[in-house]
């Protein structure tokens, strides 16, 4: 017992860490002393401009490994067979709730966007009609720009000032979370509120964005919230689901939430499950998959049900998903063997354009991180983008000569006539003067001849740059729909050109079909998702016959795109300096051993023997809880009535453990001892010093570890491998490169 009774050392370090704040983690317990030493040795630490080759200290790992301490074992022993049954049932209940709430949120976003956008377009349309007659169209232009900026301003303010993590699509963040990185504040209620509000504002504000990506983040937040049975933001504890208050369980629910989000966004339950599989596949089992599928289905169903009520067709459950690609009629869209090479060529084009998009966005994002980092600047930037989007759209519509007769069934929601003959509408306006989802649908389904090639070409070009410019602004918005829209536009153009070049083309080159392939190619070229995207596209079109061509298109676009640059989400993860662990350790890294990789020396909490033989592993958060409850040996002796600390106390503190400086420890208590026997994980995973990096990596990735202890021959601790130690190696252009740690 003696050698595990540790005296908590109260050096001046604790105070110093208090000064640096919560954001400075005690990395492996070894960060702080080094920091101060370094300051004194080399003066100020080196400062460099932000770039992609950094790892931020802000991020920690999630504890996916069960902490098997004595408390845990005790609790398990006390739990009856019935208790385990109940747990399993409550898991299902939670998944059902996740699906239901996610569907409800999707429904809310959809309805609010539709209503607000309806009002906006109606007002602008009336204004344009009025001024076409009497003159003064520049006033309409300004009105449109002001409308857009105003909405976007609201959206940008709530994001930039209240919850910056809610910016963007949220898919990179969820990817990181499922990978095992704890991104601060990513699954909080506040984030959800800001996200939902922000996405409504940015879509209504007419930016080149979609509301689908944020749905995935929203679903994840819902899952993380529901499964905990309480909200720390609202300070309400419902005293349910207490068993799920740890990272392992929460991760499973978050993956269910992400799947529910995808399924609500695209009406693709299977696609949702596969998305979770693709992004978080290292932790997976059969029962979990089944539960996730359940959550996905419930979410689609809920969305469907409430939308059917909204559309005054209660009970009609055949319109799933926020974006509905509409049905492709089977006769008009049959494809032939000789079209397959054409599809593959389209995939290659999509890959090239996607790579261009990503490269441009990469430079833009670096510029933004370096220079546009103050919230007021971010808000201004977003407003400017909104105004320019309106301006460009207006100018395009104004100078377009493409007039088309109004269809009998009015697929165009807000037809603008402008200078067209009466009874005709401006074809450019259907693409620009509309929410992006509707534009996608009209590109897929409108009759051949609805758009002329010049219109489509100009639209593709402008929308490409607008979308590229928009992604990465401080607004919450997704990149799915803009990519689909760009792709659908050039795909349709491709189809029209094919029909005009070849003699028989007009019979088989149906523009809608090529628009779909183009959309798939462009989206694949930008985000580089494979399996899940194929299934999502197939499900969203409701046409299984397109499975093969869509798969081929996505494959080609990924291969071509990967030749130039990574996918958009990976770029953004890198630029956020997240210690993201890929599937495999970088190739050619077998010569690196654990000794080089590890952090050392480790702060061992041991008084008697030094360096200690490994007895167990204890987390900082656990120590904090222990200190908070003052579990000192001396106190326990004097007060026999002292309540024994239980696992519940740790769970109550989860996930927001108080910072070390908020805990008051009196002078007397500083001399006290603490018995960690019960609380530490007595059997942590260890590796010998000579283990190669790929082996360490595999162990780490597959088990979802947070710490891996490196021991010598005599089981003495020599170092500690954490996520950041592994993530810093990556294969660059000049062989193996090492990323640097930085404070962000």
């Amino acid at each position: 017992m003696a050698n595990i009774t540790k005296k908590v050392s109260w050096s001046s370090r604790a105070d110093e860490s208090g000064a640096t704040g919560e954001g400075t983690p005690l990395l492996n317990g070894s960060e702080q002393p080094r920091h101060s030493r370094q300051d004194s040795l080399r003066g100020r630490p080196k400062e460099i401009p932000h770039n992609e080759k950094l790892l931020s200290l802000k991020y920690e790992s999630l504890d996916y490994d069960n902490i098997e301490n004595q408390l845990f074992l005790e609790e398990e022993r006390r739990m009856s067979h019935m208790g385990f049954r109940c747990l399993e049932i409550s898991r299902w209940v939670v998944c059902g709730l996740i699906g239901f709430l996610t569907g409800l949120i999707a429904c809310f976003i959809d309805i609010v966007v539709e209503e607000l956008a309806g009002i906006k377009y109606q007002v602008v349309k009336e204004n344009i009609e009025k001024f076409t007659e009497v003159g003064g169209l520049s006033i309409s232009l300004i009105l449109w720009a002001v409308f857009n900026s105003a909405f976007v301003m609201v959206g940008a303010i709530i994001v930039a000032y209240f919850e910056p993590i809610a910016a963007g699509s949220g898919i990179p963040q969820i990817k990181c979370y499922l990978n095992g990185v704890k991104i601060p504040r990513v699954v909080r209620l506040k984030t959800l509120v800001v996200k939902v509000g922000g996405v409504i504002c940015s879509v209504v504000g007419g930016l080149a964005v979609g509301k689908e990506g944020p749905m995935i983040h929203s679903g994840a937040v819902v899952a993380a919230g529901v499964s905990q049975g309480r909200s720390t933001s609202l300070k309400r504890d419902f005293k349910i689901f207490e068993y799920f208050r740890r990272d392992t369980e929460k991760r499973d629910f978050v993956s269910a939430g992400a799947a529910a989000g995808v399924s609500a966004a695209f009406g693709a339950p299977v696609g949702g499950v596969l998305f979770s599989l693709e992004e978080g596949a290292s932790f997976w089992n059969q029962m979990l998959t089944w539960r996730i599928f359940f959550a996905s289905m419930i979410s689609t169903f809920t969305l469907n049900f409430f939308l059917s009520i909204y559309h005054n067709k209660p009970g009609d459950l055949s319109n799933p998903g926020l974006i509905n690609f509409g049905r492709f009629e089977t006769e008009s869209v049959a494809y032939n063997l000789y079209e397959i090479p054409l599809f593959i060529a389209m995939g290659a084009i999509g890959g090239l354009l996607g790579a261009l998009f990503n490269v441009l966005n990469y430079w833009l994002t670096i510029f933004r991180i370096r220079y546009v980092h103050r919230p007021c600047l971010q808000v201004m930037e977003a407003m400017l983008v909104a105004a320019v989007t309106a301006t460009v759209s207006f100018t395009m519509i104004y100078f377009s000569n493409d007039c088309q007769p109004l269809g009998p069934d009015h697929t165009e929601e807000y037809p603008l006539q402008l200078f067209c003959a009466d009874g005709e509408y401006n074809s450019m306006a259907t693409a620009f003067f509309n929410t992006p989802e509707r534009s996608v649908r009209s590109l897929f389904h409108n009759q051949p001849g609805t758009y002329n090639p010049l219109t489509l070409g100009l639209f593709t070009l402008t929308y490409f740059f607008l979308a590229c410019w928009t992604y990465g602004l401080a607004v919450s918005a997704g990149v799915f729909i803009p990519s689909l829209l760009i792709g659908a536009a050039w795909g349709r153009l491709f189809g029209i050109l094919l029909a005009s070049i070849t003699t028989t083309g007009s019979t088989w080159a149906v523009p809608g079909k090529y628009a779909l392939m183009g959309a798939a190619a462009q989206l694949g070229g930008i985000v580089r998702m494979t399996l899940s995207l194929t299934v999502i596209m197939v499900e969203a079109t409701g046409n299984i016959t397109y499975g093969l061509p869509i798969m081929l298109v996505l494959m080609t676009s990924k291969i071509v795109g990967d030749y130039f640059v990574e996918g958009l989400y990976d770029i953004h993860i890198k630029l956020q300096s997240v210690p993201f662990l890929h599937w495999e350790a970088p190739a050619t890294s077998h010569w690196l051993t654990a000794r080089e990789v590890m952090s050392s020396p480790v702060t061992c909490l041991n008084r008697i023997e030094k360096p200690a033989k490994l007895c167990g592993l204890i987390l900082r958060s656990q120590l904090i809880v222990l200190l908070k409850h003052k579990v000192f040996v001396e106190l326990a002796r004097s007060r026999l009535t002292h309540r024994k600390l239980q696992l519940k106390d740790f769970r109550d503190a989860y996930p927001r453990f108080p910072p070390i400086q908020s805990i008051h420890v009196s002078q007397d208590e500083r001399e006290c001892m603490m018995d960690l026997m019960e609380f530490m994980n007595a059997t942590p995973y260890t590796v010998p010093q000579e283990t190669s990096l790929p082996r360490v990596f595999k162990l780490f990735r597959a088990l979802g570890l947070r710490h891996l202890v490196v021991v010598d021959d005599e089981n003495r601790v020599v170092g500690l491998v954490t996520r950041k130690d592994l993530a810093r190696y990556h294969l660059g252009k000049h062989g193996l490169e090492e990323l640097q740690l930085a404070q962000t």
Partner: protein
């Protein structure tokens, strides 16, 4: 009597098809002519004799109880006459479309007779014609013929312009027609003169018409007649007389948009020049004492 009846039936069908095919709108007001004479006339004129005789020979061998009753054949005959009348009315009204206003009454009488045929009610002699006329064979000719016209009627949305019971045109439609006539008169008036004069003088009329049409479009009280008339008028107005709005504000629009496009350039330049570049503090992690192998790693520290 019954074989003869049959010959009349077959002869009539052939005759009817001939009319449909020729479609010249021969002046057959087949309304109150007694059935028998009509048949006689038809076979006399169209000479489908051979076929009719053949069928007659074939059919004459059926026993009595499989034949259709007199009552039914009477109904069938009336149906045929009204059918012809309606088709005759439709064809000349094809262009410009006037199918609703001209032919609604004949469609009304056609539906009436068809509903008689298809009703459950048994006529004299305890027979229901529904089964014998409508569905005793694969072809279901009577049913198909009627169904075709019904689809046409529904496609043309004529029910929106006609009052219940096919009595009359609705007041909305009549009102629209008067406004339309007003506009067209105005067009005629100024057509010979200056086109710009037409644009200014007929504007109020045309606009009224447009507003009226917009209202009907919203209420969904339009039929094909109105749509077509409006389309033609609009084409006259926009294409023939060139009265659409000209694009004449190019300069202010370009000015405003170039100003807008200029703003982001200023924004990015100023934030590049004035905003402090964000620097990251590098942290050198503690490692076990250096190894020679570390030298192999590309050192990218700038």
């Amino acid at each position: 009597m019954s074989p003869y009846r049959h010959s009349s039936f077959w002869g009539f069908i052939v005759f009817n098809i001939c009319v449909l095919v020729s479609g010249d709108g021969a002046n057959l007001t087949a309304s109150e002519v007694p059935p028998l004479s009509s048949v006689v006339v038809s076979s006399a004129v169209f000479k489908p004799g051979l076929g009719s005789v053949l069928s007659l020979n074939l059919l004459s061998s059926f026993p009595e109880d499989l034949e259709i009753s007199d009552y039914c054949s009477e109904l069938l005959h009336i149906f045929g006459q009204r059918y012809v009348a309606y088709v005759n009315c439709l064809v000349p009204a094809a262009r410009p479309v006037k199918v609703c206003q001209n032919c609604f009454s004949s469609y009304g009488s056609l539906t009436e007779i068809f509903s008689n045929i298809s009703s459950d009610q048994v006529g004299p002699g305890n027979v229901s014609c529904r089964d014998s006329l409508l569905r005793s064979d694969r072809l279901m000719l009577v049913y198909e013929l009627y169904e075709n016209l019904k689809v046409l009627w529904e496609k043309s949305d004529c029910h929106n312009c006609i009052t219940k019971g096919f009595q009359n045109l609705t007041s909305d439609t009549l009102h629209f027609m008067t406004t339309l006539n007003q506009t067209l008169t105005c067009f005629e008036q100024y057509q010979q003169k200056n086109k710009t004069e037409l644009c200014t003088n007929c504007k109020t009329d045309y606009k009224n018409l447009n507003v009226l049409y917009g209202g009907m479009e919203k209420n969904k009280t339009m039929c094909i007649d109105i749509e077509d008339a409006m389309n033609m008028t609009r084409r006259l107005w926009s294409k023939n007389f060139n009265c659409s709005f000209p694009r004449e504000e190019t300069v202010p629009v370009i000015a405003v948009s170039s100003f807008m496009l200029f703003l982001p350039i200023i924004f990015y330049l100023s934030s590049f020049l004035h905003s402090e570049q964000k620097k990251r503090k590098l942290i050198h992690p503690n490692r076990a004492k250096s190894y020679s192998s570390l030298m192999n790693i590309q050192d990218n520290r700038s």
